[in-house]
C-alpha cells in the first residue's frame, strides 16, 4: 500500500482550523484564537486554563484580579509586582512554594487581553478543544473477507459446474456412441492442476512480494516504553507545544528525545496525576497509575520529591526508539518543520491522541516521495513579500507562475525526488 499517502493528516488540519475558528463565543472569535495561539506558545508549559499545574489554573482570573492594569504588569514583570508588596500576588507566590514565574516583557497589553479572553472562554464543563479534537480517521470498511468468501463460493460453483458439464458431455457422448477416454478424476486433471498451480503461484507471489516489501517497515510499531508517557495528556489535554520538548526538530537533523531536565521543568511541581483526570489505559486495557509513572521519572532524574533536591544519582531513561530510518537515508527534521513548514502530525499522525506513541506512517520511500510530489514549496512572492526568499533564484518557475502556466511549485519540481536529496 505504498502508493497511498495517508489522507488523515489533511483532515486533521482542516478540522484543527475549524476548531480554532469556532471555539470562541464571548469575545471576538479572532481575539480568542489569537489568545489561544499566544497561550500555547507562552503559557501552556506551566499553565492550564482549568487545572493547577506548575502555575495555577487561570480560568476566572478576571474575577480574582479585577484590576486589569495590575494583571498586565504582573504578567509582564511579576517580580516588580511582588516587590511592590501586593498582597494577593505575594500570598499566591508564597502558597506555591515561591516558584517564580517567567517574565513576559515582550507581550503587549492587547496580546495579554487576548490570552485572558481565551482563558475565560474555556468553560469548565466543556471538553477543551485539542488540536485534533473530534477527528477520528475515517474507518476504512474492510470488505476483504467478504470478497474472499464470495470468490471461494464462486470458485467452488465453477468447479462443480465444470464437473457437471464434463459429466453431462460424457453422458451425451456415451449416448451417441462417441468413444471417449476414461474420465480423469478432477484432481488428476492436468488443466485443473495447471490452473491451481498458477493461482497458487500468483497468490503466493503476491504475498511473498508484499512481505518482502514490508521487511523492515514497522507501521503501527508501538513498543512499551520504560515510563508510560502519554502524549495525549501532555499535548492533547495540557497543550504543551511539541517544540518545548523536541526543540531539535526546529534546529537540526534529530528531533531529539528531551533530556530528563526538560521533564523536570514542569514535574518538579507536578507530582501526581490528578485523581479527577481521565483515566489512562494501556493498549492491553490495563489501567495506568499516572502518579507511579511520575515517580519513575523522579527515580530517573535522581529527584527526591520530599526533600525537593536532586540526589545526583540520576540515570537517563532508556526509551525505545520507534521511528527508525535505515542508515543510508538522510533525514533532517528542521528541513521539514522550519524550511518546509510541515506540521508534526503530517508524519507522526494524531500524536495528541496517542497514549503511548505508535508509528503512524510506514516511513517507506514511496511514502516520502508521494509527499514530495504533492507538497507545495513556499515560493517567494515579490508582490506580497511572502514566502521564502531562498526560492527567488528559480527564475523560470517565477515567470511561469506569473504567466499562470503553473499554479504552484511542488517539491518535486525543485528536485525533491532526486536520489541525492536523501541518499549520500
Amino acid at each position: 500500500m505504498i502508493n497511498h499517502r495517508p489522507s488523515a493528516p489533511k483532515s486533521i488540519f482542516f478540522s484543527f482550523f475549524l476548531v480554532l475558528l469556532v471555539s470562541g463565543f464571548g469575545a471576538s472569535a479572532q481575539d480568542i484564537a489569537a489568545g489561544k495561539a499566544l497561550f500555547i506558545s507562552n503559557c501552556a508549559a506551566c499553565h492550564n486554563p482549568l487545572k493547577d499545574g506548575t502555575g495555577p489554573a487561570l480560568h476566572g482570573i478576571t474575577e480574582r484580579v479585577p484590576d486589569k492594569a495590575l494583571l498586565h504588569s504582573w504578567i509582564k514583570n511579576n517580580q516588580a509586582v511582588l516587590a511592590s508588596g501586593n498582597k494577593y500576588f505575594n500570598d499566591l507566590y508564597n502558597s506555591r512554594g515561591k516558584a517564580a514565574m517567567n517574565l513576559f516583557t515582550s507581550l503587549t497589553d492587547a496580546e495579554i487581553d487576548n490570552i485572558i479572553a481565551y482563558v475565560e472562554s474555556v468553560k469548565p464543563d466543556e471538553k477543551k478543544p485539542g488540536p485534533g479534537d473530534g477527528v477520528t480517521p475515517a474507518a476504512e470498511s474492510d470488505n476483504t473477507l467478504l470478497y474472499g468468501i464470495l470468490t471461494l463460493i464462486l470458485a467452488i460453483i465453477t468447479l462443480v459446474l465444470l464437473q457437471v458439464n464434463s459429466n453431462l458431455r460424457k453422458l451425451s457422448d456415451d449416448k451417441e456412441g462417441v468413444p471417449a477416454a476414461e474420465p480423469v478424476p478432477f484432481y488428476r486433471n492436468k488443466a485443473y492442476i495447471t490452473a491451481f498451480a498458477i493461482v497458487l503461484f500468483i497468490i503466493g507471489g503476491y504475498y511473498t512480494i508484499q512481505g518482502a516489501i514490508g521487511l523492515g517497515r514497522n507501521k503501527g510499531y508501538q513498543p512499551e516504553q520504560p515510563i508510560y508517557y502519554s502524549h495525549k495528556v501532555h499535548v492533547g489535554n495540557n497543550q504543551v507545544s511539541c517544540l518545548y520538548c523536541h526543540g531539535g526538530a526546529y534546529e537540526g537533523k534529530h528531533a531529539n528525545i528531551p533530556s530528563t531536565n526538560i521533564c523536570m521543568n514542569c514535574h518538579m511541581a507536578i507530582k501526581e496525576y490528578g485523581a479527577n483526570s481521565e483515566k489512562l489505559y494501556r493498549e492491553d486495557g490495563t489501567e495506568v497509575n499516572g502518579t507511579a509513572e511520575i515517580q519513575k521519572l523522579y527515580a530517573a532524574a535522581g529527584w527526591d520529591p520530599n526533600a525537593k533536591k536532586y540526589t545526583g544519582k540520576g540515570k537517563p531513561v532508556e526509551w525505545i526508539r520507534i521511528h527508525n530510518l535505515p542508515d543510508h537515508v538522510y533525514f533532517n527534521h528542521s528541513q521539514h518543520t522550519r524550511a518546509g513548514k510541515v506540521q508534526c502530525q503530517t508524519c507522526h499522525g494524531p500524536i495528541q491522541e496517542m497514549g503511548e506513541v505508535k508509528q503512524f506512517a510506514d516511513l517507506s520511500m514511496g511514502w516520502c516521495i508521494n509527499c514530495h510530489r504533492e507538497s507545495k514549496v513556499n515560493f517567494y512572492d515579490p508582490k506580497t513579500g511572502e514566502g521564502n526568499k531562498f526560492y527567488s533564484i528559480y527564475e523560470k518557475y517565477h515567470n511561469d507562475l506569473e504567466k499562470k502556466k503553473i499554479d504552484s511549485v511542488t517539491v518535486e519540481m525543485i528536485g525533491g525526488t532526486e536520489c541525492q536529496k536523501c541518499h549520500y
Partner: protein, 1046 residues
C-alpha cells in the same frame, strides 16, 4: 600545445604493456586467484544451494524480528549542544614546531574535521595534508592510555606525581621540547626550571633549521628566521628549498606564492620561479625554470648566484646551471627588492651567501620582513650536542622529553640512546611508545592538541589560541598542567592560561572573543628590515665553495610533502595519499635518475621492454645505500625523471618501531641516521644492488592513462599567452567546430535532449597555476567523505578509493633532468551534464540531478562497474572488499577470494578510530561504486541554512572540503546560475585560460580548469610530438598489417 605528456615511461614510449593497460579498465585479472572459485571444494550447484538457503534464512531471520533500538537522551543536556548539529571551535594545530590556526568541527561531542582558520592573516584558512589528517591522530589506537613507570601502569596521576616528586628532588633537569611558541608555556617552563637549580630547557627540532639561524645571527645579528613574503616576490629563486611542501611555514608560503601565480586576463603578469636542486622536489616541480646540480655543489651554486648579482664572473658550475644562474641573476637585478632568494641548505655558510644575495638585491625589508620574524623554528643543533655530552658526563640527572623523539630522528640517535641510558630519571610525555619513549623509565602521555588548552605565537603579536574540543579520551594530562604541578603551583593550566590572557587582553569579554576567533593579531602588520653585516661572507664563501666534491654518488634526504617529518607516521590517511612526484604510497624508497637506472639496475627506460618490466611490475629492485660510518639502508628503487644523474634521494619519516602504530609498521626504513651532522645532503655514498631481491612499491594512479589524449590538460608559455591570449579558446573552437562550435556545442553536439537546471547549477573551477600537488585537498576529501583506507596490498592491486586524486604529468626528455616540466591536475568526478556513466547503469543507481550533480546512490548500486568502465576520467571507485566493516556479515573482511586486508584497514575499523567518521555521509559497503559527490552533504546543509534564514544562497554557505583545504585557493566552487558567484566570476574573467578536460567527448563537465601558464622561454626539451601521434602510430601499424595481408 604540441607536447607529449606522460605519467610513466611506458606512456612516453608507448610500450606494449602500456597499451595493454590502457585497454583494460582494471589493470589486473579478476580476483579468482589461488584457491578461488575454480578449484573450490564446493561445486557450483552446491554453491547455489547455499546461496538460496542463506538468502531465505536471512529473509526469514530479518522478517521475524525487528531489532529494538534505544534512544537515550541526556540526563541534563548542555545548553550549547544540539544532537545532530555541528559546533565549530577555533583552536590551533601544533605538531612539533609546526603551527597552523584551525577550526575543529565537533559533532555530537567528537571532533571530526579540521579546517583552516580564515581569520588568521598568516595562513588565511589554508591547511596542509598533515593538518587535515591530524584529527585522525586523536583517535589513534596506538596512543598511550595511562601513565607508566618502568613498563608498568601507574594507577593514578597522583601516584605518578608522587613518584616523580621523589625522583626529581634535587635533580638537574633537562626539558627537551620542540620549539615552544606558547607564551604561557614558556612562562611555566621558566617557573618550573627555577625550582630545579642547574636545569635547562633545550629546544630540539627534528628537522633542523640551525643553519639559517646561525647564518642570520652572523648576517643580521639575530638568531631568528624572518618572514618571507612570497606574495610580493616577483622573482623567486629557491636553492633547494621546498617552500611549498615542507620548508618552514609552508602553508603561509603557499598562500603568498599563489598571489602572483594566478595570471589575470587584463594584466597577464606573474612571478618567475627559478629552482636549483638535486632531486625532484614538489616545489621544484612547480618552478618555471629548474636546474639540477650535485648536492655537494649547493654552496658553489649559491656563490655563483651571488657573483652574478654582483656583476662578477661565474665559475665552478656546469653549463646548464650557469645559464640558469645568469637568467636568475638578470631577473633578480631587474626586479631588485621584489625578488627573493631562499635556500633549503643546512649549512650556515650557504645561508650567509643567500643573505648576501638578498641584501644585494634589496630584499631585506621588502620580501624579507624582519619586523615579524617567524618564531616556530628556534632549535639549535649545538644545544642538543651539549645536552648529550652533559647527559654522558652526569651533569644532567633527569631528562624530560616532550613531543621529541631523538632516538628516531636525531642524526646520531644511537648516541642519544646511549646517553639516555646514563641518566637516572628519564620521563617522556610523548603520546605513543615511540623509539625514545620505549627507553625511558617514566611515561606520562600528554593530550592531543584537540584535547588541550594552549596558545602559540607564530610571529610576535600573532597569537593563535588552542581550546579543547573533547575531554581527554585516556588517562593523560597536558604538559603545562604537569609542569605546574611539579613546580608546586596549585593552579591548573586552564586557570593559569585564562588569567594570563585576561590580564593581557584587559577583560574577560576580550578573552572570550579571542577564544572564539582563535587568533589575536596586531591591528597593522609590521614590516621592516634588519641591520645587515657582510663580515662573515668571505669566510663563508670560502668554506662553502671549498667543499670537496663528494664522490660519485651523493644522497639527498627529504621530507615528503604529505607525511613530513614522521610525527604523524601512523596516520593511514597520510600513508595512503600518494606522494606528489612519485605517486607512491605506504613506503619510502631510493629515488634514482633514469641515467643511473641504466647503469645500476640495467633498466633503460628508453627501451620499451625494459621500461615495461620495471614499471608494470610493482616489485622493484632493492639496493643497499651505504654512507661511510653509518649503518647501510636497503630500500627499493624508483626511477624518477628530473633527478640529477648521480643523486639518490630518500624520504625521512618512515621506518617507525612496532609500537608506534599498526599502520606505520613495515612502512619503509628510517633515513634520519644517514644524515651527517644533521645535514640532509650527504656525500660519498655508495650504492649496490641486492641481487635477486625485489620489494613491492604501491604506486597509485600511474595506471590510469589517457591514451595520448592531450586534451586532458592544457598549458602555455607566458610569452605565447601574452601574444595570443585566446589561443586556447581558438583551439577549443577549432576542435568543436564540427559539432556546432563553442556556442552551440552543448545543444548541437549531441542527440540527447538538453535538460535545464532551473535553480542552482553547481560548478567548480580549478586553477592549474595555483595547484602545487601538495595533497591537502585529497586528505580533506578523505576526512569529509569517509573515504576508506584500503592498505598497501590493495593499492598494489589498484583498489585505492580516493575520490580526488592529483594527476601528475611530466613532459620533457628524461635524459636531461633540467628539461623536465611537471603539471598537476586535480582529478575528481567532473559531474558531467551528459555523463557517460549514467546511461550505462542498468539499475539507474547513478543519475543526474536538476542541480547538475552526477548522483551516486549506493543503496541502489549492484556493482556491475559499467559506469567505471565508461568514465573517461576514471574517477569512479569500486569497493572490492569490505574496507569499512560496514557490511552486516561478520568476518566479511578476510576471505579466501577477496584476500586478507592489511592491518591498517582493521585499525581504521577499530571502535575508537571509527569515531572520526562523518555521520552525514554513508559508510559504503562492499560491492558498490562510489565517487566524488561535490560534498553534497555540505551543499544540502548550506541550502538549508539559507532557507532557514530566508535568503538566497551565497558563496560562503557552500564550500567543498577540497576547496576549503587549499591554501592557494586553487579551487573555487559555487552556483553557476548566479552570475555574481565566485565560480561564475572566475570563469568569466578567465575565458582565455578556461578549458574542460576531454571537452570534445561532449560529456559537458561541470568542473572547468584554468590552463597552466609557465613563465619561461625555455622550450621544454625532449619529445615534441603531435597530439595525433598515438593514432598516427596506430594507423601506421594497421597499414603495415594490411600490406602484409596483401
Amino acid at each position: 600545445m604540441s607536447k607529449k605528456y606522460w605519467q610513466n615511461f611506458g606512456e612516453l614510449n608507448h610500450s606494449e604493456a602500456f597499451q595493454q593497460s590502457a585497454k583494460d579498465e582494471f589493470r589486473e585479472e579478476l580476483p579468482f586467484e589461488g584457491e578461488g572459485m575454480a578449484e573450490a571444494k564446493t561445486p557450483r550447484r552446491d554453491f547455489l544451494k547455499y546461496v538460496g538457503f542463506s538468502t531465505a534464512a536471512a529473509a526469514i531471520a530479518a522478517g521475524c524480528e525487528t531489532p529494538v533500538r534505544k534512544a537515550i537522551p541526556y540526563l541534563n543536556k548542555p545548553a550549547d549542544l544540539t544532537p545532530g548539529v555541528s559546533n565549530w571551535y577555533a583552536t590551533t594545530y601544533v605538531s612539533g614546531s609546526d603551527v597552523v590556526p584551525v577550526v575543529a568541527k565537533v559533532r555530537d561531542g567528537r571532533p571530526i574535521k579540521i579546517e583552516g582558520n580564515e581569520l588568521s592573516t598568516i595562513t588565511g584558512g589554508g591547511t596542509s595534508a598533515r593538518v587535515q589528517a591530524s584529527v585522525l591522530d586523536l583517535y589513534d589506537t596506538a596512543r598511550l592510555r595511562y601513565p607508566m613507570a618502568n613498563g608498568q601502569e601507574v594507577s593514578s596521576l597522583d601516584a605518578f606525581d608522587k613518584m616523580l616528586g621523589e625522583a626529581l628532588t634535587g635533580a638537574a633537569v633537562a626539558l627537551v621540547t620542540p620549539t615552544i611558541t606558547s607564551p604561557t608555556t614558556k612562562q611555566i617552563i621558566t617557573e618550573f626550571l627555577a625550582k630545579y637549580p642547574g636545569s635547562r630547557h633545550v629546544q630540539y627540532d627534528g628537522i633542523s633549521y640551525s643553519g639559517i639561524l646561525s647564518a642570520n645571527e652572523a648576517s643580521y645579528g639575530k638568531r631568528a628566521v624572518p618572514s618571507y613574503d612570497f606574495g610580493k616576490a616577483k622573482v623567486v629563486v629557491s636553492l633547494a628549498a621546498d617552500f611549498l611542501g615542507t620548508w618552514l611555514n609552508h602553508v603561509e608560503y603557499q598562500k603568498g606564492y599563489a598571489k602572483l601565480r594566478k595570471v589575470g586576463e587584463k594584466n597577464p603578469e606573474m612571478s618567475k620561479h627559478y629552482h636549483f636542486e638535486s632531486m625532484m622536489s614538489m616545489t621544484g616541480s612547480n618552478a618555471d625554470e629548474r636546474y639540477t646540480h650535485k648536492p655537494s655543489e649547493a654552496g658553489i651554486v649559491a656563490a655563483a648566484l651571488l657573483s652574478a648579482v654582483s656583476g662578477q664572473a661565474i665559475s665552478g658550475v656546469s653549463e646548464s646551471v650557469k645559464k640558469g644562474v645568469e637568467n636568475a641573476a638578470k631577473d633578480l637585478l631587474a626586479n631588485k627588492e621584489a625578488g627573493l632568494v631562499v635556500s633549503g641548505s643546512h649549512s650556515a655558510d650557504v645561508q650567509i651567501i643567500v643573505n648576501a644575495i638578498n641584501e644585494a638585491i634589496g630584499a631585506n625589508g621588502t620580501t624579507i620582513n624582519w619586523a615579524a620574524p617567524l618564531l616556530t623554528k628556534q632549535g639549535v643543533d649545538a644545544d642538543m650536542a651539549t645536552l648529550i655530552d652533559d647527559m654522558n658526563s652526569g651533569k644532567i640527572n633527569a631528562v624530560l622529553l616532550y613531543d621529541v623523539n631523538p632516538v628516531y630522528d636525531y642524526f646520531d640517535g644511537a648516541k642519544f640512546k646511549a646517553a639516555l641510558a646514563k641518566v637516572k630519571t628519564s620521563v617522556s610525555f610523548n603520546e605513543r611508545l615511540d623509539e625514545t619513549t620505549a627507553l625511558v623509565k617514566y611515561i606520562l602521555p600528554a593530550n592531543h592538541y584537540l584535547e588541550s588548552w594552549g596558545d602559540a605565537e607564530i610571529k610576535p603579536g600573532y597569537i593563535s589560541l588552542m581550546q579543547p574540543t573533547i575531554n581527554p579520551l585516556f588517562k593523560t594530562r597536558q604538559l603545562q598542567d604537569t609542569l605546574l604541578k611539579w613546580s608546586g603551583n596549585a593552579t591548573g593550566y586552564h586557570d593559569y592560561f585564562k588569567n594570563f590572557w585576561v590580564a593581557k587582553l584587559g577583560s574577560e569579554e576580550a578573552y572570550d572573543t579571542a577564544l572564539m576567533n582563535g587568533v589575536i593579531e596586531p591591528a597593522a602588520p609590521a614590516a621592516g628590515g634588519a641591520a645587515f653585516s657582510n663580515a662573515k661572507l668571505a669566510e663563508a664563501t670560502a668554506a662553502a665553495t671549498a667543499k670537496k666534491a663528494g664522490g660519485t654518488y651523493e644522497l639527498v634526504l627529504y621530507q615528503k610533502p604529505v607525511l613530513g617529518d614522521g610525527r604523524q607516521a601512523n596516520n593511514p590517511w597520510l600513508l595512503e595519499t600518494p606522494d606528489p612526484i612519485t605517486r607512491a604510497t605506504w613506503d619510502n624508497y631510493v629515488i634514482i635518475s633514469p641515467s643511473l637506472a641504466k647503469t645500476l639496475i640495467g633498466v633503460d627506460i628508453a627501451d620499451r621492454q625494459q621500461a615495461d618490466q620495471f614499471e608494470v611490475n610493482p616489485g622493484k629492485p632493492v639496493v643497499k645505500v651505504t654512507v661511510p660510518g653509518k649503518e647501510p639502508v636497503t630500500l627499493p628503487v624508483l626511477v624518477i625523471p628530473g633527478v640529477e644523474a648521480n643523486t639518490l634521494a630518500i624520504a625521512v619519516g618512515y621506518g617507525r618501531n612496532a609500537q608506534s602504530g599498526r599502520a606505520t609498521v613495515g612502512a619503509g626504513k628510517n633515513a634520519y641516521p644517514l644524515a651527517v651532522n644533521g645535514d640532509f645532503n650527504v656525500s660519498n655514498v655508495s650504492i649496490e644492488v641486492v641481487p635477486k631481491e625485489t620489494y613491492k612499491v604501491a604506486q597509485g594512479q600511474t595506471h590510469m592513462s589517457y591514451e595520448g589524449r592531450v586534451e586532458v590538460v592544457k598549458e602555455m608559455l607566458l610569452a605565447e599567452y601574452k601574444a595570443h591570449p585566446d589561443e586556447i579558446m581558438e583551439e577549443r573552437e577549432k576542435e568543436l567546430k564540427p559539432f556546432g562550435g563553442l556556442d552551440k556545442f552543448t545543444a548541437e553536439g549531441t542527440i540527447y535532449p538538453n535538460y535545464e537546471k532551473p535553480g542552482i547549477k553547481w560548478g567548480m573551477s580549478i586553477d592549474l597555476n595555483a595547484c602545487y600537488g601538495c595533497g591537502s585537498c585529497v586528505v580533506a576529501c578523505t576526512a569529509e567523505n569517509n573515504v576508506a583506507t584500503v592498505g598497501k596490498s590493495e593499492v598494489l592491486r589498484y583498489h585505492d578509493m580516493a575520490w580526488l586524486r592529483i594527476d601528475r604529468y611530466f613532459s620533457g626528455d628524461p635524459a636531461n633532468p633540467d628539461s623536465i616540466q611537471t603539471i598537476f591536475q586535480p582529478m575528481l568526478c567532473q559531474h558531467c551534464d551528459n555523463a557517460p556513466c549514467e546511461n550505462v547503469c542498468p539499475v539507474a543507481a547513478t543519475n543526474h540531478s536538476s542541480e547538475g550533480l552526477n548522483q551516486m546512490t549506493y543503496n541502489r548500486c549492484i556493482g556491475t562497474r559499467y559506469c567505471a568502465n565508461n568514465c573517461p576520467f576514471k574517477v569512479r571507485r569500486f569497493n572490492w572488499a569490505d574496507y569499512t566493516g560496514a557490511d552486516s556479515f561478520p568476518n566479511n573482511q578476510d576471505q579466501t577470494i577477496v584476500g586478507h586486508l592489511d592491518d591498517a584497514v582493521h585499525m581504521m575499523n577499530d571502535e575508537l578510530t571509527r569515531m572520526v567518521l562523518n555521520p552525514d555521509v554513508t559508510v559504503r559497503s562492499r560491492g558498490v561504486i562510489e565517487k566524488c559527490s561535490f560534498c553534497v552533504q555540505r551543499l544540502q546543509e548550506g541550502k538549508l541554512k539559507a532557507k532557514k534564514e530566508n535568503r538566497t544562497l551565497t558563496d560562503s554557505d557552500v564550500k567543498t572540503a577540497c576547496q576549503q583545504a587549499c591554501a592557494a585557493d586553487a579551487i573555487v566552487f559555487g552556483n553557476v546560475n548566479n552570475k555574481d558567484s565566485e565560480v561564475s566570476t572566475v570563469r568569466r574573467e578567465n575565458k582565455n585560460r578556461l578549458f574542460y578536460s576531454l571537452e570534445q567527448l561532449h560529456v559537458l563537465p561541470n568542473v572547468s580548469y584554468l590552463a597552466k601558464i609557465r613563465n619561461t622561454e625555455m622550450e621544454t626539451g625532449g619529445k615534441l610530438e603531435k597530439p595525433e601521434a598515438h593514432s598516427a602510430e596506430k594507423e601506421g601499424a594497421e597499414k603495415k598489417a594490411e600490406k602484409e595481408h596483401a
